[in-house]
Subunit: 227 residues, 2 copies
Amino acid sequence: MTAKASRTPLSRERVLAAAVALVDSEGIQALTMRRLAADLGVEAMSLYYHLPAKEALLDGVVETVLAEIDAATAGSPANGDDWRARIRRQFLAARQVMLRHPWMPGLLSTRRTIPPRVFAYYDGILGVMIDAGFSYRLAHRALHAFGSMPLGFVQEIFSPGAADGGAEDGASEAELAALAQQMPHLAAMMAAEMHDSADPTLGWCDGQVEFEFTLDLLLDGLERLRA
Amino acid sequence: MTAKASRTPLSRERVLAAAVALVDSEGIQALTMRRLAADLGVEAMSLYYHLPAKEALLDGVVETVLAEIDAATAGSPANGDDWRARIRRQFLAARQVMLRHPWMPGLLSTRRTIPPRVFAYYDGILGVMIDAGFSYRLAHRALHAFGSMPLGFVQEIFSPGAADGGAEDGASEAELAALAQQMPHLAAMMAAEMHDSADPTLGWCDGQVEFEFTLDLLLDGLERLRA
DNA sequence: TAAGGTAACTTACGATGTAAGGTGGGGGCA
DNA sequence: TGCCCCCACCTTACATCGTAAGTTACCTTA
C-alpha cells in the first residue's frame, strides 16, 4: 500500500542512494537497517543480500559522497593556471558538496580503512603541486598541512550549537556577565565582531570566509617556501 | 573476590577515571555501561546514581581529558616571549596529552555541546594574540585557522592503517604496479620519501614533524599579516 | 512442467542503554 | 536504645539495534 515503490528490484546502488538521502534528511542516527529497509519498502534482512554488514553500508555511503566530490571537482580547470588557483577552485568545489552532507566529516572519521578513491583524489592534488615545481618533501608536508581541506571541510571545535550553557537558553544576565568575566578576550572579540548573525553552515562550523582565509594562509605560505 | 577493590564508595570522579583508563587500554567501543561497571566491581545500573546517562559519561570523559590538557599547558610560560613561541609551546604540550588519548578527537567530534572549559582554553590563546597586537578580526580568523591544533591534534585523512587494499596484505606485485599507475604522483612521492618507516603516532596520523610544520606555516603567515 | 537458484521474508538471539522498583544498612531523631 | 528513612547499590525487564539461520515465492531455464 502506501506507495510500494519497490517495483525496481533493489540493488547496492539503490540502497546506498536511499541511505544518503535518509542521512541527509534525518541525520546519521536515523540510519538503522530497519529504517533504511522501510524507506525502501523492504524488510531489514533483505539489505544483507546486497551488503555484507552495516559497516559496508557506511563505507558505501562514504564512497558515494566521495564520488560526488570527484564529479564536482573533475572539471579539469585547464592548465596555464596558477597552482594556487587550481587548488583553490578544487577545494572550494569540494566544500560545496560537503555543505550538502554536513554529517560526512563525522562519518569519514569512523571509517577504519581509507577508501581507494581518496588516494586517487589526493594524487591529483599532489600532481598539481609537483607540476608547479614543489619538491616531494614540500608537497608531502603540504598534503599534511591541508588536512581535510581538499575534501572541503575543516575540523571545527566551535560548531555544536553553542556552549554547554546552563539550563534553558534564558541564561540570566548575571550568569552571562560572570561568563564574560571568565573569558574576557572572547567576550571582547564577540563584541567587536558581533559575528554578524551566525553562519551555521557545516556541522563543523565552516564559514566560507574562514575557510577561504585559512586556505589562502596555507597556499601563500607554501608559495613562499616553494620559491 | 578477585580484588573487590570497591572499598571506596564510587563517585563521579572515580567512574570517569575508570572510563578514561578503559578507553585508553581497550578503545572506545569497549566503553559500555556493563563493562565499565564490572571494572569498578559494581553493577551497570549503579553508575546511573552518579551519572544521568551514557552521554553524560562521555561528556565527563571529554572534560577529564580537557582538564589534563589544561594542567599540561597551565605552566604559564612567563611573558617576554614571542607570541609564536608561547602558542607553539602550548599547542605542542597539548599534543603530548592527545598522544596518550588517541581516541579523543573522535569522541570530541561526537559531543553535541562545547564544554565550557574549551571556551576558557581558547580565551587564553586569544589573549596571547591580542597581547601581540592582533586585531580582533585577525585573531578571530586565526582561531578558525588553528582548528583543533590548540588541543593538540589535526584532522588527518591518512591514518587508518593503510588503504582499503584488496584482501590480505599480500597484495600481488601486479596489483601494486597497477595501483601505482593509477596514482603516479603518490607512488613517486612515497618512493622519494620512503617515509622512513612509519610514524603511527595518533589515530589521526600526526607525526611530530608534520604537526610542527603545519603550525609554523600558520604562525608565520599570521605574523606576516599582523605586521 | 519440473528444477533450481535468486531475492526477498520470518524468526530469533545477543548486546546495549536505561526505566522501574527492590534492598540493606547506617545515621538521625525520639 | 529503638525506630525510621533515605542513600547507594542491586535485580529485573524492556526497546532497539545488528545480524545469524532458515524459509518462501517467483523467474528462468531445461
